[in-house]
């Protein structure tokens, strides 16, 4: 059946809202960047182009992102093969542990690395003591440190995507290859790898974009090493507003260029439930030595990967001022957690992050459902544009959106669709919402696509109106997709640092900002306790999302 496009006023309304929230702020940034001290002109563009520091920041963003992709792939791909294809003691538990870096929000991961490998970190001190060194064996600073954090948190994309693709591989394809006389390596090269390309391409794209927009790691560990996200914030703090706009434009262009180049490798999502056949059986390792060796290696690896989590937990029990020169903290109490819950000033950021993330996620889910109904179900005119707009914020680094929203909503000009929200409590939920839209809409739209349209028609033929069909049929069936999208979005917003640092007000200061200020006041215990809370909430929400995904 051919696509028929219908005109629809709700679709026009949604389209306008999305243009206003997503396209308009970015367009304003573009315009601001093209304004010189005396009217329109390329004045600031010229300044940008003439400064070597700008070029080196742009280059830094590009190469660190490419290096993050390479390093993450080098770690994630072998792990995916190991855990999807082989069977050894503990393979199931370890398979989950390997994905756990995902429960650390970016800033929390950075914090944990600081406690572990920083100048006074556990590992550094341990090595210093063992080898009798005068000072720490390394300094956790510069591009290397950033790359380390990136690889630790982003190999998970390669690992999860590739593992899922391997698990959904149809065993009969391998058998077919074997029956056609293909030897093992040829079967892998000609049959297995081509089927993994979409997953690997998707992971590469996701890693590249995440790393291009990464802010926490370069902000804390960068030192002299500048990338564009930190450069933008520094320029803005200097008061060079227009130059910050030009920098923002350059980063946006780099992101869009990367998206255009990498898009070719990123195949469309496989339809939900499109999996056929049986996954190939795991290779059982028979040799006892090999089994033990592999298991030992895997457990060692798991310990290494869990060190940041454990460190965070350990430090969170250390009361302020009790840990000075000892290699291991001497005192442990629950004091920091009590402070978090009982001190109204300390509890406030938790409450803030909670309601900000909940509100932004709820609205994002509602918008995604509306988009799904209009674009997938009713196939309205402009549905494709709505979907493209929803996906757009994903391609644009968080810093860029923070600047764009700060620009758009710092002027009172209602006739131009601009009101002052900067400095009010509404700016952060709005920013979180925009950043959440691609995450929720991706899951929800895929959910809508996976629904059999005749279920809706069946409801209609049984006399159920649109509202009842949505409530009784569509939404219950979409539950897994809704939960998956909402949980991912909630976790992102709950731990957000990159947009918050530019837009927060004292009344809406989120957990991430409180972590930063605790750290600056050398209050590491409280910072770690906040980190643990973020980590646990993320883990719990992920567990809910994953559980509903497998049940649906």
């Amino acid at each position: 059946m051919t696509t028929r496009l219908r005109r629809s006023w709700p679709a026009v309304g949604l389209l306008l809202v999305l243009v206003w929230l997503i396209v308009y702020p970015i367009a304003l940034v573009l315009l601001e960047g093209l304004r010189g001290p005396d009217g329109w002109g390329l004045h600031y563009v010229r300044i940008f182009l003439e400064r070597p520091t700008e070029w080196s920041a742009l280059w830094g963003s590009l190469w660190i992102s490419l290096a993050s992709v390479a390093l993450s792939a080098a770690i994630g791909l072998p792990l995916a093969f190991l855990f999807a294809r082989y069977d050894f003691p503990g393979v199931r538990v370890l398979g989950t542990v390997v994905a756990l870096p995902a429960v650390l929000p970016p800033l929390v991961g950075v914090l944990a690395f600081l406690f572990l490998y920083g100048e006074t970190g556990f590992v550094s001190l341990l090595l210093q003591k063992v080898f009798g060194l005068q000072e720490a064996p390394w300094r956790l600073q510069g591009a290397g440190a950033v790359l380390l954090v990136h690889a630790y948190s982003m190999y998970v994309y390669f690992y999860l995507f590739t593992r899922a693709a391997l698990a959904s591989l149809d065993a009969s394809l391998l058998e077919a290859a074997a029956s056609l006389g293909a030897r093992k390596w040829r079967a892998v090269r000609r049959v297995v790898l081509p089927q993994l390309y979409p997953a690997i391409g998707g992971a590469a794209l996701l890693t590249f974009m995440t790393s291009l927009g990464s802010f926490s790691a370069p902000y804390i560990f960068g030192g002299g090493f500048r990338v564009m996200t930190t450069q933008i914030v520094a320029t803005r703090l200097n008061g060079d507003n227009e130059l910050a706009m030009v920098e923002t434009i350059s980063l946006t262009l780099l992101a869009l260029l990367a998206l255009a180049v990498l898009r070719g490798t990123h195949a469309p999502d496989t339809p939900a439930g499109g999996r056929k056949g049986v996954a190939p059986a795991r290779v059982v390792i028979r040799s006892r030595k090999a089994r033990l060796g592999l298991a030992g290696l895997a457990w060692g690896l798991a310990a290494l990967l869990l060190l940041p989590h454990l460190t965070l937990l350990l430090v969170s029990f250390v009361p302020a001022g009790t840990w000075t020169v000892e290699p291991v903290p001497p005192v442990y109490t629950l004091g920091n957690y009590v402070t978090l819950l009982h001190d109204p000033v300390r509890a406030r950021p938790l409450v803030n992050s909670l309601w900000l993330a909940t509100a932004a996620t709820a609205v994002a889910v509602a918008v995604s459902i509306a988009a799904g109904v209009l674009s997938v179900r009713r196939r309205v005119r402009g549905g494709r544009v709505i979907e493209a707009l929803l996906a757009l914020p994903w391609a644009v680094p968080g810093t860029v959106f923070a600047i764009a929203i700060a620009t758009a909503f710092s002027v009172n000009a209602p006739w131009a669709g601009r009101v002052i929200l900067v400095g009010t409590i509404w700016i952060l939920p709005l920013a979180y919402l925009v950043r959440n839209l691609p995450i929720t809409s991706r899951a929800v739209l895929a959910g809508f696509r996976g629904l059999d349209p005749s279920l809706d028609e069946a409801a209609a033929s049984l006399g159920a109106g649109r509202a009842r069909a949505l409530r009784r049929v569509t939404l219950p069936l979409l539950r897994p997709a809704l939960l998956a999208g909402a949980s991912l979005a909630f976790v992102t917003a709950f731990g957000d640092f990159v947009t918050s640092i530019m837009l927060y007000t004292y009344d809406t200061r989120p957990v991430s900002l409180e972590i930063l200020s605790s750290l600056r006041q050398a209050d590491v215990g409280v910072a770690a306790a906040y980190g643990v809370v973020l980590m646990l909430v993320s883990a719990a929400v992920f567990a809910v999302g994953a559980d509903s995904g497998s049940a649906g």
Partner: protein, 358 residues
């Protein structure tokens, strides 16, 4: 007697494709009509126009004197059984069947009674709390039927009701559906691409091709008096041969086929054809196989297939035309050269069409 359900000049266009082209049909109350046609013939679109899932570019749908062309599916009170059943997977069997009743405002004890009655109708009494996913294909189909019938719709629509079932289950299910619908006495339209199904289930059968209604009639009418070569070829087994009409009389027509002359009985009520080129459609049972000789078409047996008590022979004439003929199993072997003749009483099994090419 006026018709209960009328389709008047329905037209549906998808971009450049005319999916349904001026289709008019009418059904008596309680009648069962089968829409038969190959894929792309417009039969499913016609059904969706009836259900209200598509709205026609022209034409009307009238049920019981009420024009429902612009009535939303929600308010149309047409029950539908979908090809893949479209049972709600998150609801159990009872909740599925209750769904339409709840839309109509039925609550409490009456709801339970009517759900139980609908399930009893399809022989699934007591299945209320079963999960849909635990049922076999045949049971799912019966739940879909019960769900569609429970709100007592005015018209029942069935989209390829048997296509999702095991071939071994099909015949039994067909019988069950037929009996159930007769018992309920509901006006029914069903879509199928299987002639067997259409003939078995439909009181009348409407044959569609490329969006056009080619012919509508009882199975007997379609078989013995196809309106054109397409209907004749689509309904039952047949072969087509290019012939030249030599002489057309009121009782018999003489045709020349590959140099051999045959006499064809003129069916009663059919006007005799004009002299000239024609296409002859012939059923296997209207041909017989003998030794090659005068008056017989010489052909080679290329395949032999046993169908019950007789064999179906595929024959290749000297000019390469393939013809199917029914014969006793021992009549000929593959590779043998035989003569082909028309049966003596051939009126119902031979049709001449002019103005169409083979």
């Amino acid at each position: 007697m006026s018709a209960f359900l009328r389709l008047e000049g329905l037209v549906k266009r998808f971009d450049a494709v005319l999916a349904v082209n001026e289709v008019s049909l009418s059904l008596e109350r309680g009648e069962m009509l089968a829409l038969l046609g190959p894929s792309g013939s417009g039969k499913t679109t016609t059904l969706r126009l009836l259900a209200g899932f598509e709205s026609p570019d022209a034409g009307r749908v009238i049920v019981d004197g009420e024009d429902v062309t612009r009535v939303e599916p929600v308010a149309r009170r047409f029950g539908m059984v979908f090809q893949h059943y479209a049972l709600f997977p998150h609801l159990d069997v009872g909740e599925n069947v209750a769904f339409g009743l709840e839309s109509a405002g039925v609550r409490g004890d009456e709801l339970h009674t009517r759900v139980a009655r609908a399930l009893g109708l399809v022989d699934l009494a007591g299945y209320e709390r079963r999960r849909v996913g635990q049922l076999s294909g045949g049971q799912q189909q019966r739940v879909a039927l019960a769900r569609a019938l429970a709100p007592e719709p005015r018209v029942l629509l069935l989209d390829e009701p048997l296509s999702n079932l095991d071939p071994t289950l099909r015949e039994r299910t067909r019988r069950e559906i037929r009996e159930l619908i007769r018992r309920v006495g509901i006006t029914t339209v069903l879509v199928t691409h299987e002639q067997d199904e259409a003939f078995d289930l439909g009181d009348r059968v409407a044959v569609l091709r490329s969006g056009r209604l080619e012919q509508v009639g009882t199975p007997e009418e379609l078989y013995s008096a196809p309106a054109n070569r397409f209907v004749g070829g689509f309904v039952g087994r047949s072969s087509t041969l290019d012939v030249i009409v030599v002489h057309a009389g009121p009782d018999a027509t003489r045709v020349n086929i590959e140099g051999v002359e045959w006499t064809v009985e003129t069916a009663p009520g059919v006007p005799p054809p004009a002299a000239g080129a024609a296409v002859m459609l012939v059923r296997p049972e209207s041909l017989r196989v003998t030794a090659p000789g005068a008056g017989a078409l010489t052909a080679t047996v290329t395949a032999r297939r046993f169908v019950g008590p007789s064999a179906l022979l595929t024959l290749r004439t000297e000019r390469g035309t393939l013809v199917e003929a029914a014969a006793p199993p021992a009549a000929a072997r593959v590779g043998e050269v035989v003569g082909v003749l028309l049966s003596r009483r051939n009126g119902a099994g031979v049709h001449l069409f002019q103005g169409e090419q083979a």
